[in-house]
Amino acid sequence: MAGKLERVPVREQDPKVRAANFSEVCLGYNLEEAVEEAQRCLTCKNAKCIEGCPVSIDIPGFIHQLKEQNVEKAYEVISRYSSLPAICGRVCPQESQCEQKCIRGIKGEPVSIGKLERFTADWAREHNIHPSVSCQPKNKKVAVIGSGPAGLTCAGDLAKAGYDVTIFEALHEPGGVLVYGIPEFRLPKKDVVEPEIENVKALGVKIETNVIVGKSVTIDQLMEEEGFSAVFIGSGAGLPKFMEIPGENANGVFSANEYLTRSNLMKAFDENYDTPIHVGRKVAVVGGGNVAMDAARTALRLGSEVHIVYRRSEAELPARAEEVHHAKEEGIIFNLLTNPKEILTDENGQVTGMVCVEMELGEPDASGRRRPVEKKGSEFTIEVDTVIMALGTSPNPLISSTTKGLDVNKWKCIVADEENGQTSKAGVFAGGDAVTGAATVILAMGAGKAAAKGIDEYLSRENADA
């Protein structure tokens, strides 16, 4: 059994069935399957998988416990490194991180680390097991801005170290991109996200929703008037990009952010909720990342025929391999090497089609990917009534523009030390998409973790100096 080249397959909802519902696609391992998959781990002494993990989880350590069927112990091991394992097991791009480094992957399939992490966290939740804390209160207040992956991780680690932590969230629910961005069918809110946020609150973290730092209160006020000794900015990269092509303001053109926020945060897919969502007959989603896949699969579930329009080829799709695979299974049509030029409308301003041009791959660009170039004279029109732009996002300038002495780079990203999150302003730290621009949940968590350590060191030093 331990010598098997293939991983234990994971059970999933049938593509035909799930294409019409919002329930989770992947059903995960049961105990028996998890233990069988765990047996495939070689427990390498010099474990490469740990190097591939942005939060350096002791992967062989927790898998070893699973082999012995000690799931609670396995959860303890993971909890030392991550506050959000049920989430990471679902949304991390494992194939380019831990699993990419797995020795098993040289000959055969790598160990299914993500699915094992997910199983462990789900089991703990179902058995009412929570991460334990015992620490000396430090009597110092730290403010965390944003309750997404970076903020939750930073807050959790600081609380474990004994700090009095308050998270300020701009929206009406905590969770950031976990709640407004990633759909229910990939990351269930009630069953997975909410309990992990509750775990962070159980560590003593307070969450104040409906506070827009930069508007409702400034960082300077938090530090000077509300007694916070340090601040972590994990406000994400929320501003959607558009292509700036003709017709983009037409009715029926949405940012993926708007489309997903309506469906995920406002639950527009559920008829018991008041927020409306536009259900197109034929939808084009422009882009090839995870957000594009999420928007496409949401539209599909609402009843639309959906096309992904992406200017490079399949090999360059930045989305997780599993998402692309799932999208295809569900019936999403991929129009690759295709780039929009113009959106066509009728006299009421409603979308009627999109003019596209065929592309071919040229020389590699700065990112190392082959640059897409237009094929002259290859313009054609696809008939659609809805276009969703999933072209990436940029950081919101709300905080940087209202905080004295906080440096940003030319992309409006906050400048912060990668090692400890320190910004140009004393006592202010930052991490996640607000610093890097749009990236992944786990990278944001890694940055939140580094900043928590940085804040602890800063406040301990401040104490020693006093």
């Binding site: 009406h172 407004y180 506070v211 508007k215 501003l239 959607p240 558009f242 008041d274 009421n348």
Partner: protein, 303 residues
């Protein structure tokens, strides 16, 4: 939870509420807005700030019942709470960045249409506090739809009323009155600030362009988060894409593409929905500015 301390009916379909919202009350300025959500299943509804009291920590909102969500809001009573209330959002009025001396030298006219009178009020009040009282026109379809007249009288240098049916004040719409003031009554203005239904703002801007008076308008498109995240509120201003929630809500009225904005306002209105609205609410769901042809207001912000 954000408790409603006071509720008052201003006209048939327009309501005023004082809501306990300490952080917003401490930090808001004229020109900004808030987003409220009634309960778990409610929409996020953007509303302009009508007034605020830093000591009592209250923010005053005014809204018109134009559909399901605002009708639900109108059913809330004193002592009830909104589940969510967030703000201040958007940029403050550009006037708040100027010195009292600069303001005193400017001859400013506000043009308020229907429920748009609510966001005009704090600006007029703020200007009087700076010693720079401004003139103000309030327009509505009929006398019973004029709101905040007494309050505005106290704050404005001169208050002019226009009603379409001539039941009160000048007979005609706000543009007719503005034209009359400037062309026939020798009034001169350096700046016009117009807030009301899109169609009203559009026609005021056409006139002030002719009269060569710089004009600021306050836009209230469909939005979801109000923090720049969704892009639903994007507008075409001088050929550039702007987000009303973070770049506005106030813009140079002579640069705004109103025709596009009006089309975008209708995104979630089906033909059937529009018909039902007309049937249920007749003429009363108008902002009362006298410009609407089909009488359709944007549901999600009650102006």
């Amino acid at each position: 939870m954000y408790r409603i301390l006071k509720k008052r009916q201003l006209s048939d379909q327009i309501w005023l509420m004082d809501v306990l919202a300490p952080r917003t009350a401490r930090s808001c300025l004229p020109g900004q807005f808030v987003i409220v959500k009634i309960d778990e299943t409610g929409e996020r509804i953007p509303l302009t700030i009508c007034d605020y009291d830093r000591e009592k920590e209250t923010v005053t909102i005014v809204f018109q019942t134009v559909g399901v969500s605002t009708a639900r809001m109108a059913r809330l009573n004193e002592g009830d709470s909104f589940r969510d209330f967030v703000g201040p959002l958007g940029c403050p009025s550009e006037l708040t960045g100027r010195t009292a001396e600069e303001l005193k030298e400017k001859r400013i006219l506000f043009v308020a249409g229907g429920v748009g009178t609510a966001p005009v009020y704090p600006q007029v009040k703020w200007l009087r506090q700076q010693g720079a009282a401004a003139d103000c026109i309030i327009g509505a379809r009929s006398k019973n739809l004029i709101i905040l007249e007494e309050e505005m009288k106290k704050e404005a240098a001169n208050l002019y009323i226009a009603t379409d049916d001539g039941s009160y004040g000048f007979q005609g719409n706000v543009s007719n009155l503005l034209g009359d003031l400037v062309r026939n009554q020798g009034k001169a203005y350096d700046l016009v600030i117009a807030i009301g239904p899109l169609i009203m703002m559009k026609f005021v801007c056409l006139l002030t362009k002719e009269l060569n008076i710089p004009t600021i308008v306050s836009m209230n498109p469909i939005m979801v988060d109000g923090t720049g995240m969704c892009g639903a509120c994007r507008l075409n201003v001088g050929g550039e894409i702007k987000f009303a929630c973070v770049d506005g809500p106030e813009f140079d009225g002579h640069l705004v593409n109103f025709d596009e904005a009006m089309k975008r306002q209708a995104i979630y209105k089906t033909e059937e929905g529009r018909a039902m609205l007309r049937l249920q609410e007749g003429d009363t769901h108008h902002g009362g500015c006298g410009f609407c042809s089909d009488g359709k207001e944007e549901e999600t912000n009650g102006r």
